[in-house]
């Protein structure tokens, strides 16, 4: 998030004015296009000057993202975007910093940086494009590929359990975790705005379709016929209702969530859980991230959003305190301090 007081401008840019002059080179039909549109729209609606934004990406199809934005951008190396972004934010806290990463980039080679960036709570937005496949290297399984999935590097099926980004994020003390699908631009923009306005590391998992190597992997969730039953779009303070008729809901039974239907078996809307994204206790947020279709709808929207100090702010506070309290006022004071001796 950036300080709007110092950067407010009179005329807002239109979404397309956030584009660079470079031709976008993703495959036709790729889910990444939707994210590009949503980000441009978000910046426009929040009226953030494009020179105040830095996109920092790793390696992978989605990591070409910075080239398509007319802001400052840095296409770094595989897995390390979070590390580079940390340096950018510390060096220039006025920037709105966006980390662009995929499931391979953030959770395999960059797993270490992913968990530590979350733990430190660097004030940035991390877009995790999750298509459950390595696209740029042409179709190997990723850390989010389902167990048993057949890919070019797993012709007999994978033999490893996938990571769940939400589980990993909350396990790393995430203060902001959201999930969106690449087919729902409206929710994506709403979520990205909250992410940008959140102080701290905002992780947004984007269920994104790879049209070439893993087509329709999210179709149970995003398909026109099934989406109403399989998507639970969470809103803070609203009941957790879903379904074509918005009459299905979640309720807590002991330590388990269960699906209930309002109007059946004496269930009323009052029995349905109300979403509290700001609850510091992450237990329910964690349970929501773990819901899987077809037994449950998949939780979308902002799942967790709590206030906490950020690393970059703490770092700058400490510098300011040290400066105010230091016995040294210039390097000369330091050089001449302690045991010195004069030779004549």
């Amino acid at each position: 998030m950036i300080n709007m007081e110092t950067t407010a401008v009179q005329c807002a840019l239109k979404p397309k004015e956030y584009a660079s002059d470079q031709e976008v080179k993703w495959c036709p039909g790729c889910g990444d296009y939707a994210v590009l549109s949503a980000v441009r729209k978000t910046l426009s609606e929040l009226n953030i000057p494009k020179e105040k934004v830095a996109f920092i990406s790793g390696i992978g199809c989605s990591s070409r993202f910075p080239y398509y934005m007319g802001s400052y951008g840095f296409h770094t190396i595989h897995g390390r975007a979070a590390g580079v972004a940390t340096g950018v934010k510390i060096a220039n806290p006025d920037l709105s910093v966006w980390i662009i990463s995929g499931d391979g980039d953030a959770l395999a080679i960059g797993g270490n940086h992913f968990i530590h960036a979350i733990r430190r709570n660097i004030n940035a937005n991390l877009l995790l494009f999750n298509n459950q496949i390595y696209g740029l290297t042409k179709g190997q399984y990723s850390p989010t590929s389902e167990l048993g999935m057949i890919t070019k590097s797993s012709p007999h099926g994978t033999i490893e359990e996938p990571f769940s980004p939400g589980e990993l994020a909350i396990g790393s003390q995430s203060k902001f975790f959201a999930r969106v699908v690449d087919t729902d631009l409206k929710t994506m923009v709403a979520v990205l705005k909250q992410a940008e306005q959140h102080n701290g590391l905002s992780v947004i998992e984007i269920l994104q379709n790879c049209v070439i190597f893993n087509d329709k992997i999210h179709s149970a969730i995003t398909g026109k016929e099934t989406k109403a039953e399989n998507q639970l779009i969470l809103e803070h303070g609203k009941p957790m209702l879903f379904g074509a008729e918005k009459n299905k809901g979640l309720r807590l039974m002991g330590l388990e969530l269960e699906v209930v239907t309002v109007g059946e078996n004496g269930i009323t809307e009052a029995d349905v859980l109300v979403h509290d994204a700001g609850n510091p206790n992450p237990t329910l947020h964690y349970m929501l991230t773990q819901l899987k279709s077809p037994e449950f709808p998949v939780a979308l929207g902002v799942i967790r959003n709590i206030k906490a100090p950020t690393y970059d702010q703490a770092l700058h506070n400490q510098r300011a305190e040290e400066k105010a309290n230091s016995k040294f006022h210039s390097l000369n004071d330091l050089f001449l301090s302690g045991n010195t001796f004069r030779v004549n």
Binding site: E51, Y67, V84, V88, N92, N112, L336, G338, F341, V343
Partner: protein, 610 residues
């Protein structure tokens, strides 16, 4: 009592790694440096924090060479050895000067301790020490009895025994106790019992030496005739940290350090993190890779960015350094070298990361490589690394080494006014600006910081189109960019001083050194020159690119020998560039610095067998 005047002397404090030998050594160093002696120190300790007690592997040593003149190195072997236990004696037995003085804590020469140190019989009784002057002192028991009335616990009492030994050495060299007494008064201001105990033990040691009548002579080492000015002691790592601070100030940028702890580089982090008041931003990352990546991010965003490490960490940073080369961002990488490969010898010195610095990346990826010579001059080389990085828009690798990083030397304080300004290569106007448009003189591109209106641009690890910086896979463009990156680094040679030679009239043997072995090489060559030998010396700090008169220096010598603490890496580098000369090698790979004695031996051999 005779008082013998010495031009210089070498003292070594040796004991268990918990015996406080480093502190005793440092306090002796402070006193002699304050008196105005030239000094050079060499701390030598095991990589384990508390290695098995009483074993040779657990011995921690601190050697100091101080004198009136001619102190270029910590000295080959001690004139006075303090051995707090049999293991400390054993560890140093093979490297003693004839007739040197050995002060021994006789309380610790028990049968068990003698066996643990690997002696088959008591060395104090079996005659192996008959050539030396042995001073047996019951250091531990006298320490205990001298402060028995202070009510300290046994552990605190025993920890004071290093001060007993130090007190004895102060007496032996007619040095004052004042500075050490002041040190304790300040250090333990809130623990008066500890102040009292340390001072009491120090004085007891001093008086013991005075009254025991075991010493046949005491010594006096006059002050040096140094250049006038204000001095202070600095270790190499501290000097590196201060040089970085000064450079950031002179470049008018915030200093950013992104790093991960690793021996022997961590003291740079320890030092810089104390100076947040000066605006330093410190990021202790989750690993070496995040350390360098955060520095690259900070550089992109406009800070003077530094990462510090040692060999294994350098290996991990390799890919990211390539990114900084491709994106042509300023970045300073400090590698405090230690013994390798792999984990190698973490606390021992070596110069074996030179090839890694020069070549250790994928693709044709040139970076500037420079090296520091002595502890105090680490300040200048850190400053210079920063200057080259921001003025030439390139990563600069600064090689120091454990030996000088932990060693101490008096530094003639440089105040900010005495330091040159640094001019980052920033863009002045939008007109004509392009991300990869270059300065004609240096071929450096401009450094534009995110947040600046009208300069929005994207960089990255993919090949860049010349001038625009857009992604390009065009064959001829790539070839051009490979040449441009190489040429840009090569052109740094126009911005560095000429290489100097000591011994201009010589033509028989040229000695070449680089990095932190300067003092010892200089000392050895100086001695031979005084003896009238036909020998010259040239020492390289700028490794890549080399100074532009390098080839000229090699002309006219019958023999050239490259001396380095590795298996011939700088010699190979020179041989590849100057195949018309034959570079002989003198290599040492023992985790230890050269000694003047072995260098003189080698040079005499080369001079005589024509």
């Amino acid at each position: 009592m005779i008082k013998t005047e010495l031009k210089s002397a070498v003292i070594k404090f040796a004991g268990d790694s918990g015996d406080g030998m480093q502190l005793a050594g440092m306090l002796f160093t402070d006193t002699t440096a304050n008196k105005g002696n030239e000094i050079a120190t060499f701390p030598d300790f095991p990589s384990e924090i508390r290695a098995p007690q009483g074993t040779v592997a657990g011995v921690s040593g601190f050697q100091i060479h101080f004198g009136e003149s001619g102190v270029y190195s910590p000295g080959d072997a001690p004139d006075v050895l303090i051995a707090m236990n049999p293991a400390a004696l054993k560890a140093n037995l093979s490297n003693l000067k004839p007739a040197c003085t050995i002060i021994i804590d006789s309380d610790n020469f028990t049968e068990r301790a003698i066996g643990k140190a690997g002696f088959s019989r008591n060395p104090l009784e079996n005659g192996i020490l008959s050539d030396y002057q042995i001073i047996e002192a019951p250091i531990t028991s006298l320490t205990k009895s001298s402060i028995a009335d202070l009510g300290l616990d046994n552990k605190s009492v025993v920890r004071c025994k290093n001060m007993f030994a130090l007190g004895m050495v102060f007496w032996l060299f007619n040095e004052s106790l004042d500075q050490t007494i002041n040190f304790f008064k300040q250090k333990f201001a809130k623990k008066p019992a500890l102040v009292k105990a340390n001072i009491k033990v120090l004085q007891t040691g001093f008086h013991f030496a005075e009254t025991v009548e075991a010493f046949t002579s005491s010594f006096f080492v006059p002050s040096a005739k140094k250049v006038a000015g204000i001095y202070r002691n600095l270790t190499g790592n501290q000097a590196t940290a201060w040089g970085l601070l000064a450079a950031a100030k002179k470049a008018n940028r915030d200093l950013f350090l992104g790093t991960y702890p690793i021996t022997p580089a961590t003291d740079i982090l320890h030092e810089l993190t104390k100076h947040k008041w000066a605006g330093v931003k410190i990021f202790q990352a989750e690993d070496e890779i995040a350390g360098v990546c955060s520095a690259i991010g900070a550089s992109f965003a406009g800070d003077l960015a530094v990462t510090t490490t040692s060999g294994p960490g350098m290996a991990l940073k390799t890919e990211a350094i390539g990114l900084a080369i491709m994106t042509e961002l300023p970045l300073v990488i400090v590698n405090v070298q230690r013994g390798g490969p792999s984990t190698g010898l973490p606390t021992k010195t070596e110069q074996s990361d030179l090839s890694q610095a020069l070549y250790g990346r994928n693709g044709d990826s040139p970076a500037v490589v420079i090296s520091a010579s002595t502890p105090a001059t680490c300040f200048d080389w850190a400053f210079e690394a920063c200057r080259i990085a921001v003025e030439h828009m390139t990563p600069v690798i600064l090689l120091t080494e454990s030996y000088i990083a932990n060693g101490t030397e008096p530094w003639k304080i440089k105040l900010l006014d005495e330091l040159a300004e640094i001019h980052p290569n920033t863009a002045e106007s939008h007109e004509d600006w392009q991300p990869y448009k270059r300065d004609k003189k240096t071929l450096a591109r401009k450094w534009v910081v995110p947040g600046t209106t009208g300069f929005e641009h994207r960089i990255g690890g993919l090949e860049k189109e010349d001038i625009t910086g857009n992604v390009s896979y065009m064959p001829l463009n790539h070839e051009k960019m490979v040449h441009l990156r190489a040429e840009k680094v090569a052109m740094v040679t126009n911005d560095i001083p000429l290489q100097k030679v000591k011994g201009r009239n010589a033509n028989q043997l040229l000695v070449i050194g680089w990095g932190g072995q300067f003092g010892i090489l200089f000392g050895a060559v100086s001695k031979l020159q005084i003896e009238g030998k036909n020998i010259a010396f040239t020492h390289f700090n700028y490794i890549h690119p080399l100074p532009r008169n390098t080839k000229k220096i090699f002309e006219g010598f019958e023999r050239i020998v490259v001396c380095e603490l590795n298996n011939g890496q700088f010699a190979n580098y020179l041989q590849a560039q100057f195949p018309e000369y034959r570079f002989e090698r003198f290599n040492k790979m023992q985790g230890l610095p050269f000694t003047v004695k072995e260098l003189k031996g080698k040079f005499n051999e080369l001079l005589n067998d024509d």
